[in-house]
Amino acid sequence: MNRFEDNYFIERVLSGDVSAYSSLVDRHKDMAYSIAYKVLRIQEDAEEVAQDAFLKAYQNLDKFKHEAKFSTWLFRIVYNTAISKTRKKRPDFSPIDERTMGNLTEDDIHENLDQMSAEEQQNLVTAAIDRLPEDESTIVTLFYMEDNSIEDISEITGLSRSNVKVKLFRIRKKLSVELHRNMLNEAIV
């Protein structure tokens, strides 16, 4: 996303053209909703949180400092709003056992993935990401799908840069394990 285009729409909103905000919503709604969903795991809750976050961002648009990207600022609001909600209602997830990593190779996984249809691949990877804890699932989405930098992710999640790096390292391992496990399950079925 081009930050200069975001700034253009922000200036229009602040100048009184409220409808320009819909452009900002359209540009960032998928990622905002995805972040909320990664944290909450319930579609209705994720949609409500994403909407609340967009409204909060609008109400505080005059306080947005252009030092950071608008998306970084917005996603931080989304993440914090979602975290606040999940503290009230924490979803269950099964932790991935990292001890089973030893006998894996990425080539095995890659080979199996290539034999699957695009839809199967997508379902498998999505399921693997969804099995990660909420913060790690969010980091994967921000880092790999939105190409946010470590600094941006640190800003959004409130984690230190080194913590983000460590988490990314662990996430890669966990995803490999989870993909392998899912493939084995598919093979058994």
Binding site: A50, F54, L55, Q122, V125
Partner: protein, 143 residues
Amino acid sequence: MTTYDSRNEEFIRRIVQRTTLKKPSDDFTGRIMERVMADSLPVKSYISNIYWYLIAGAASVAILMMIFPSWTLFDLDFSAGAASPEKFAGVLNAATHMMSGFTALFTGLKNGSVFLFVAIAMGLLFGIDQLLKHFTPDKHFIF
């Protein structure tokens, strides 16, 4: 990062990018815009708080300069004798001049006094601005 880690990183990136972002409902933007339209317009303050604090600081310095005429940047004199009721009376007198009209004001003022009154006026506006920001929920304030 080892060669294995580097390959694994590239592999994970590739497979994650095969997935797509989750999509909200079709009327997502419309529902947000309904709420946005019902809300008040965020108004950009033309003078940010940092400048207001600088103005308030300048006003304070100007007042000190009036009360302590021997005060300079390099020669601070905050002794009890430096301030006197006569000097306070002088400030009040100047304020009376201001109230009685600009002509009388500008002919009756000493060096630096114009700056003082401008600074005090700006300080008052800052106070009003902050009060309006605090007490008006729709954020329509003068600055």
